[in-house]
Amino acid sequence: MNDKTFVELLGISQSLPGLKAVNLAVLIGDSLRGTFGAIAALAGVCLPGALLMYVVGLVYQVERERPLLEAGLEGVAAAAAGLVLAMTLQLGRQALSGAADLIFVVLTVICVNRLNVPVPYALAAIGALAVGWYAWVDAASTRVRR
Protein backbone atom coordinates (compact mmCIF):
# COMPACT_ATOMS: atom_id res chain seq x y z
CA MET A 1 0.00 0.00 0.00
CA ASN A 2 1.40 3.43 -0.92
CA ASP A 3 1.29 6.67 1.07
CA LYS A 4 -1.44 8.22 -1.05
CA THR A 5 -3.86 5.31 -0.54
CA PHE A 6 -3.10 5.30 3.18
CA VAL A 7 -3.84 9.02 3.55
CA GLU A 8 -7.06 8.59 1.58
CA LEU A 9 -8.19 5.69 3.80
CA LEU A 10 -7.27 7.72 6.88
CA GLY A 11 -9.48 10.53 5.59
CA ILE A 12 -12.44 8.19 5.10
CA SER A 13 -12.01 6.61 8.53
CA GLN A 14 -12.05 10.03 10.18
CA SER A 15 -15.22 11.25 8.54
CA LEU A 16 -17.34 8.15 9.23
CA PRO A 17 -18.92 7.10 12.52
CA GLY A 18 -16.80 4.64 14.48
CA LEU A 19 -13.40 4.85 16.10
CA LYS A 20 -10.66 6.05 13.78
CA ALA A 21 -8.26 3.16 14.46
CA VAL A 22 -10.99 0.56 13.94
CA ASN A 23 -12.28 2.13 10.71
CA LEU A 24 -8.75 2.42 9.36
CA ALA A 25 -8.05 -1.24 10.14
CA VAL A 26 -11.26 -2.28 8.35
CA LEU A 27 -10.39 -0.22 5.25
CA ILE A 28 -6.79 -1.46 5.09
CA GLY A 29 -7.89 -5.05 5.61
CA ASP A 30 -10.52 -4.69 2.87
CA SER A 31 -8.14 -3.11 0.37
CA LEU A 32 -5.49 -5.80 0.95
CA ARG A 33 -7.60 -8.97 1.27
CA GLY A 34 -11.27 -8.10 0.77
CA THR A 35 -14.02 -8.87 3.29
CA PHE A 36 -12.00 -11.57 5.01
CA GLY A 37 -9.08 -9.15 5.40
CA ALA A 38 -11.43 -6.56 6.89
CA ILE A 39 -12.76 -9.07 9.44
CA ALA A 40 -9.24 -10.21 10.34
CA ALA A 41 -8.05 -6.60 10.75
CA LEU A 42 -11.10 -5.77 12.89
CA ALA A 43 -10.42 -8.76 15.15
CA GLY A 44 -6.70 -7.94 15.32
CA VAL A 45 -7.25 -4.34 16.38
CA CYS A 46 -10.04 -5.15 18.88
CA LEU A 47 -9.30 -8.47 20.55
CA PRO A 48 -6.19 -7.71 22.65
CA GLY A 49 -7.76 -4.63 24.23
CA ALA A 50 -11.15 -6.34 24.51
CA LEU A 51 -9.68 -9.29 26.43
CA LEU A 52 -7.82 -6.97 28.76
CA MET A 53 -10.88 -4.80 29.40
CA TYR A 54 -12.99 -7.92 29.96
CA VAL A 55 -10.62 -8.93 32.74
CA VAL A 56 -10.65 -5.34 34.06
CA GLY A 57 -14.46 -5.50 34.19
CA LEU A 58 -14.44 -8.77 36.15
CA VAL A 59 -11.80 -7.58 38.60
CA TYR A 60 -13.55 -4.25 39.05
CA GLN A 61 -16.83 -5.98 39.86
CA VAL A 62 -15.19 -7.81 42.78
CA GLU A 63 -12.89 -5.05 44.02
CA ARG A 64 -14.93 -1.88 43.43
CA GLU A 65 -15.53 -1.24 47.15
CA ARG A 66 -11.80 -1.16 48.05
CA PRO A 67 -11.01 2.43 49.23
CA LEU A 68 -7.40 2.46 47.99
CA LEU A 69 -8.49 1.33 44.51
CA GLU A 70 -11.15 4.01 44.41
CA ALA A 71 -8.60 6.63 45.49
CA GLY A 72 -6.24 5.64 42.67
CA LEU A 73 -9.05 5.55 40.12
CA GLU A 74 -10.20 9.00 41.15
CA GLY A 75 -6.73 10.31 40.25
CA VAL A 76 -6.70 8.27 37.04
CA ALA A 77 -10.06 9.67 35.94
CA ALA A 78 -8.97 13.24 36.70
CA ALA A 79 -5.87 12.73 34.53
CA ALA A 80 -8.00 11.17 31.79
CA ALA A 81 -10.29 14.23 31.84
CA GLY A 82 -7.26 16.39 31.03
CA LEU A 83 -6.26 13.91 28.32
CA VAL A 84 -9.60 13.81 26.49
CA LEU A 85 -9.94 17.60 26.61
CA ALA A 86 -6.44 18.06 25.19
CA MET A 87 -7.13 15.55 22.40
CA THR A 88 -10.41 17.24 21.50
CA LEU A 89 -8.79 20.68 21.47
CA GLN A 90 -6.04 19.45 19.14
CA LEU A 91 -8.61 17.84 16.81
CA GLY A 92 -10.65 21.03 16.85
CA ARG A 93 -7.66 23.14 15.86
CA GLN A 94 -7.17 20.97 12.78
CA ALA A 95 -10.81 20.56 11.81
CA LEU A 96 -12.41 23.93 12.50
CA SER A 97 -12.16 27.20 10.63
CA GLY A 98 -14.29 30.29 10.82
CA ALA A 99 -16.95 31.68 13.12
CA ALA A 100 -19.72 29.47 11.71
CA ASP A 101 -17.85 26.34 12.85
CA LEU A 102 -17.47 27.73 16.37
CA ILE A 103 -21.19 28.50 16.51
CA PHE A 104 -22.05 24.91 15.50
CA VAL A 105 -19.67 23.55 18.16
CA VAL A 106 -21.19 25.75 20.88
CA LEU A 107 -24.75 24.92 19.78
CA THR A 108 -23.98 21.19 19.94
CA VAL A 109 -22.45 21.46 23.43
CA ILE A 110 -25.38 23.55 24.73
CA CYS A 111 -27.93 21.10 23.31
CA VAL A 112 -26.24 18.02 24.76
CA ASN A 113 -24.85 19.26 28.08
CA ARG A 114 -27.23 22.08 29.08
CA LEU A 115 -30.54 21.11 27.49
CA ASN A 116 -29.92 17.34 27.76
CA VAL A 117 -31.02 16.73 24.18
CA PRO A 118 -30.25 13.08 23.33
CA VAL A 119 -27.18 12.82 21.08
CA PRO A 120 -29.06 11.37 18.05
CA TYR A 121 -31.47 14.33 17.98
CA ALA A 122 -28.71 16.88 18.52
CA LEU A 123 -26.68 15.25 15.75
CA ALA A 124 -29.64 15.25 13.35
CA ALA A 125 -30.75 18.82 14.10
CA ILE A 126 -27.42 20.64 14.23
CA GLY A 127 -25.97 18.36 11.56
CA ALA A 128 -28.81 19.41 9.22
CA LEU A 129 -28.27 23.06 10.12
CA ALA A 130 -24.51 22.92 9.52
CA VAL A 131 -24.75 20.89 6.30
CA GLY A 132 -27.47 23.27 5.09
CA TRP A 133 -25.28 26.25 5.88
CA TYR A 134 -22.30 24.88 3.96
CA ALA A 135 -24.54 23.83 1.06
CA TRP A 136 -25.74 27.44 0.89
CA VAL A 137 -22.15 28.77 1.11
CA ASP A 138 -21.15 26.34 -1.65
CA ALA A 139 -24.05 27.38 -3.88
CA ALA A 140 -23.35 31.08 -3.25
CA SER A 141 -19.67 30.72 -4.15
CA THR A 142 -20.59 28.89 -7.36
CA ARG A 143 -22.93 31.73 -8.29
CA VAL A 144 -20.21 34.33 -7.68
CA ARG A 145 -17.74 32.42 -9.83
CA ARG A 146 -20.14 32.33 -12.76
Partner: protein
Protein backbone atom coordinates in the same frame (compact mmCIF):
# COMPACT_ATOMS: atom_id res chain seq x y z
CA UNK B 1 -35.97 -7.85 29.11
CA UNK B 2 -32.98 -10.14 29.29
CA UNK B 3 -29.82 -8.19 30.28
CA UNK B 4 -27.77 -9.48 27.35
CA UNK B 5 -30.43 -8.40 24.85
CA UNK B 6 -30.63 -4.99 26.53
CA UNK B 7 -26.84 -4.64 26.27
CA UNK B 8 -26.95 -5.53 22.57
CA UNK B 9 -29.66 -2.95 21.92
CA UNK B 10 -27.98 -0.17 23.92
CA UNK B 11 -24.50 -0.58 22.44
CA UNK B 12 -25.71 -1.10 18.86
CA UNK B 13 -27.58 2.20 19.16
CA UNK B 14 -24.37 3.89 20.38
CA UNK B 15 -22.21 2.48 17.57
CA UNK B 16 -23.19 4.96 14.86
CA UNK B 17 -23.12 7.95 17.24
CA UNK B 18 -19.33 7.80 17.50
CA UNK B 19 -18.90 10.48 14.85
CA UNK B 20 -15.39 11.93 15.10
CA UNK B 21 -14.42 9.58 17.93
CA UNK B 22 -15.69 7.40 20.75
CA UNK B 23 -16.14 10.35 23.07
CA UNK B 24 -19.03 11.64 20.89
CA UNK B 25 -21.19 8.77 22.17
CA UNK B 26 -20.24 9.34 25.82
CA UNK B 27 -23.22 11.54 26.82
CA UNK B 28 -25.63 8.94 25.41
CA UNK B 29 -23.62 6.11 27.01
CA UNK B 30 -23.93 7.92 30.34
CA UNK B 31 -27.68 8.46 29.89
CA UNK B 32 -28.34 4.81 29.03
CA UNK B 33 -25.88 3.02 31.32
CA UNK B 34 -26.16 5.31 34.36
CA UNK B 35 -29.59 7.03 34.29
CA UNK B 36 -31.79 4.53 32.46
CA UNK B 37 -30.39 1.09 33.33
CA UNK B 38 -28.45 1.89 36.55
CA UNK B 39 -25.65 -0.51 35.61
CA UNK B 40 -23.07 1.74 37.30
CA UNK B 41 -22.54 5.34 38.46
CA UNK B 42 -21.00 8.12 36.37
CA UNK B 43 -17.70 8.08 38.35
CA UNK B 44 -17.54 4.29 37.86
CA UNK B 45 -18.11 4.71 34.12
CA UNK B 46 -15.33 7.33 34.10
CA UNK B 47 -12.98 4.99 36.00
CA UNK B 48 -13.47 2.23 33.44
CA UNK B 49 -13.02 4.64 30.52
CA UNK B 50 -9.79 5.91 32.10
CA UNK B 51 -8.42 2.39 32.60
CA UNK B 52 -9.29 1.78 28.94
CA UNK B 53 -6.80 4.49 27.99
CA UNK B 54 -4.05 2.17 29.24
CA UNK B 55 -5.24 -0.80 27.15
CA UNK B 56 -3.99 -1.40 23.60
CA UNK B 57 -6.29 -0.61 20.68
CA UNK B 58 -9.36 1.64 20.39
CA UNK B 59 -9.96 3.96 23.33
CA UNK B 60 -13.59 2.95 23.89
CA UNK B 61 -12.75 -0.68 24.70
CA UNK B 62 -14.13 -0.04 28.19
CA UNK B 63 -17.58 -0.81 26.79
CA UNK B 64 -16.49 -4.46 27.08
CA UNK B 65 -15.89 -3.94 30.82
CA UNK B 66 -19.42 -2.58 31.17
CA UNK B 67 -20.72 -5.68 29.39
CA UNK B 68 -18.69 -7.92 31.72
CA UNK B 69 -19.97 -6.07 34.81
CA UNK B 70 -23.59 -6.46 33.75
CA UNK B 71 -23.66 -9.99 32.33
CA UNK B 72 -20.25 -11.69 32.48
CA UNK B 73 -18.56 -13.01 29.33
CA UNK B 74 -21.76 -13.21 27.22
CA UNK B 75 -22.35 -9.55 28.05
CA UNK B 76 -18.78 -8.61 27.14
CA UNK B 77 -18.96 -10.48 23.83
CA UNK B 78 -22.34 -9.06 22.85
CA UNK B 79 -21.21 -5.52 23.67
CA UNK B 80 -18.04 -5.95 21.61
CA UNK B 81 -20.03 -7.04 18.54
CA UNK B 82 -22.87 -4.55 19.02
CA UNK B 83 -20.64 -1.54 19.57
CA UNK B 84 -18.01 -2.16 16.91
CA UNK B 85 -20.02 -4.14 14.33
CA UNK B 86 -22.44 -1.56 12.84
CA UNK B 87 -19.78 1.15 12.39
CA UNK B 88 -17.38 -1.42 10.87
CA UNK B 89 -19.99 -2.59 8.34
CA UNK B 90 -20.82 1.02 7.40
CA UNK B 91 -17.10 1.76 6.94
CA UNK B 92 -16.68 -1.32 4.75
CA UNK B 93 -19.59 -0.31 2.51
CA UNK B 94 -18.67 3.38 2.21
CA UNK B 95 -15.00 2.47 1.68
CA UNK B 96 -15.93 0.41 -1.37
CA UNK B 97 -18.16 3.13 -2.80
CA UNK B 98 -15.66 5.87 -2.00
CA UNK B 99 -13.98 6.13 -5.41
CA UNK B 100 -17.41 6.97 -6.86
CA UNK B 101 -18.56 9.16 -3.94
CA UNK B 102 -15.60 11.41 -3.25
CA UNK B 103 -16.04 13.66 -6.30
CA UNK B 104 -19.71 14.34 -5.53
CA UNK B 105 -20.57 17.84 -4.41
CA UNK B 106 -22.97 16.68 -1.68
CA UNK B 107 -20.36 14.41 -0.09
CA UNK B 108 -17.91 17.32 0.21
CA UNK B 109 -20.65 19.54 1.70
CA UNK B 110 -21.75 16.76 4.07
CA UNK B 111 -18.20 16.25 5.33
CA UNK B 112 -17.70 19.99 5.75
CA UNK B 113 -20.96 20.42 7.68
CA UNK B 114 -20.48 17.44 9.97
CA UNK B 115 -16.92 18.42 10.93
CA UNK B 116 -17.90 21.10 13.52
CA UNK B 117 -20.81 18.98 14.80
CA UNK B 118 -18.50 16.04 15.46
CA UNK B 119 -16.07 18.30 17.35
CA UNK B 120 -19.05 19.65 19.32
CA UNK B 121 -20.14 16.10 20.20
CA UNK B 122 -16.59 15.18 21.29
CA UNK B 123 -16.46 18.27 23.49
CA UNK B 124 -19.89 17.45 24.93
CA UNK B 125 -18.58 13.96 25.73
CA UNK B 126 -15.51 15.43 27.45
CA UNK B 127 -17.72 17.68 29.58
CA UNK B 128 -19.99 14.77 30.56
CA UNK B 129 -16.90 12.80 31.50
CA UNK B 130 -15.45 15.74 33.45
CA UNK B 131 -18.65 16.06 35.50
CA UNK B 132 -17.97 12.64 37.01
CA UNK B 133 -14.17 12.94 37.18
CA UNK B 134 -13.46 16.51 38.32
CA UNK B 135 -15.26 16.60 41.64
CA UNK B 136 -13.02 18.74 43.83
CA UNK B 137 -9.85 20.83 44.12
CA UNK B 138 -7.37 17.96 43.81
CA UNK B 139 -9.01 16.32 40.80
CA UNK B 140 -9.42 19.67 39.01
CA UNK B 141 -5.72 20.35 39.63
CA UNK B 142 -4.68 16.93 38.26
CA UNK B 143 -6.86 17.39 35.17
CA UNK B 144 -5.57 20.91 34.51
CA UNK B 145 -1.92 19.90 34.87
CA UNK B 146 -2.33 16.89 32.55
CA UNK B 147 -4.16 19.09 30.02
CA UNK B 148 -1.37 21.70 30.08
CA UNK B 149 1.43 19.11 29.81
CA UNK B 150 -0.20 17.39 26.84
CA UNK B 151 -0.66 20.65 24.94
CA UNK B 152 2.98 21.63 25.42
CA UNK B 153 4.86 18.32 25.18
CA UNK B 154 4.51 14.99 23.42
CA UNK B 155 4.86 12.82 26.53
CA UNK B 156 3.07 9.44 26.43
CA UNK B 157 -0.37 10.01 28.05
CA UNK B 158 -0.17 6.59 29.74
CA UNK B 159 2.55 7.95 32.07
CA UNK B 160 0.35 10.87 33.05
CA UNK B 161 -2.58 8.53 33.73
CA UNK B 162 -0.35 6.42 35.98
CA UNK B 163 0.95 9.56 37.69
CA UNK B 164 -2.70 10.46 38.30
CA UNK B 165 -3.18 7.10 40.04
CA UNK B 166 -0.25 7.81 42.38
CA UNK B 167 -1.48 11.31 43.20
CA UNK B 168 -4.98 9.89 43.77
CA UNK B 169 -3.73 7.23 46.20
CA UNK B 170 -1.66 9.84 48.10
CA UNK B 171 -4.49 12.41 48.21
CA UNK B 172 -7.53 10.19 48.80
CA UNK B 173 -6.00 6.96 50.16
CA UNK B 174 -6.25 8.00 53.79
CA UNK B 175 -9.95 8.90 53.69
Amino acid sequence: MNEVATLAFVFASLSLLTLGGGMAAYPELKTLAVDVHHWLTLPELDYLFSLGQLAPGPNMMMVVSVGALVAGWPGAFVVLCAFFGPAAVLTLIVGRLWSRLRERRWIVVLQRGLAPVSIGLLLAGCLTFAKGALTGGVTVAIGTIVFAILLRTSVNPAFLILAGAIVGVCAFGTR
